[in-house]
Symmetry: C2
Subunit: 129 residues, 2 copies
DNA sequence: TTCGTTGCAAATGTTTTGCACCTGA
DNA sequence: TCAGGTGCAAAACATTTGCAACGAA
């Protein structure tokens, strides 16, 4: 692996994600960064998102519903995806990492992590008709 | 929603998935069904996979690693994805649905389900260098 | 100077869709 | 008959990549 070099664009991607509590797609990151870097390209955004995710400085969220989303919050937490408005929310909940032990029983490989996404109707959508 | 009509192709898609314990992609389904239906199109395969998944007769698995996969087994279970060979396996484990209650605490919406994928190194890859 | 990074555009891989024809009920 | 299903090809998306120019160390 090559040594990373500083880049304004990469810093801006990270900073932008840290400033948001929603979970932007690559395209949203791109659109917003264009204000500060009018010439930034989508390829650069994808390259940096991928690098940052590999380094563990951001989290990539795959919902299976359109484009991947990215999260600047890296403390362990889970996500909720609304079936109606497709919004992704952070869940404030106690750790469920004990499910790793449950899954590991009788399994011949080595399980080291899990990704759990919860689904349902979000608080906002419940109120609407 | 329109009334479904019988179709040989849809039956064959369902039957093919029921016959496999791995978790084929749409393209794998397509390639295999071509033996029985030389003119079947990828579009038809996708349309039927999508229909069957909506009806709950098969499960769509999004791993975030290449194409989606499909599972003909619909009894509740979880999946393991190997970081090395990217194989998807069924996990035989006790229910972890109690995490729904944990997630629901302090959450304003209505959580009705979860998808949990486990990651690590599978039994086969552990043996290899 | 060196080598990672960027912008641009083209390419890739996956999935969806428009349309004319076919088929089950 | 008629609404749903199919094959084919084109389109739509999301993401990746080749390359020449740029910029940090």
């Amino acid at each position: 692996m090559p040594t990373l070099k500083y880049s304004r664009q990469r810093e801006a991607v990270k900073e932008f994600l840290a400033s948001r509590i929603d979970h932007p797609t690559a395209d949203t990151v791109y659109t917003n960064l264009r204000e500060k870097f009018p010439n930034i390209s989508l390829g650069t955004v994808y390259r940096n998102l991928s690098l940052l995710a590999d380094m563990g400085e951001i989290i990539k969220i795959t919902t299976g519903d359109g484009a991947d989303r990215f999260d600047g919050r890296i403390t362990p937490h889970n996500h909720f995806i609304c079936r109606k408005c497709h919004k992704v929310s952070d869940l404030e909940m106690e750790s469920i990492d004990s499910i790793l032990g449950i899954a590991q029983k009788n399994f011949p490989g080595k399980i080291d992590s899990h990704v759990t996404n919860f689904y349902g109707i979000c608080g906002d959508c419940i109120k609407k008709p």
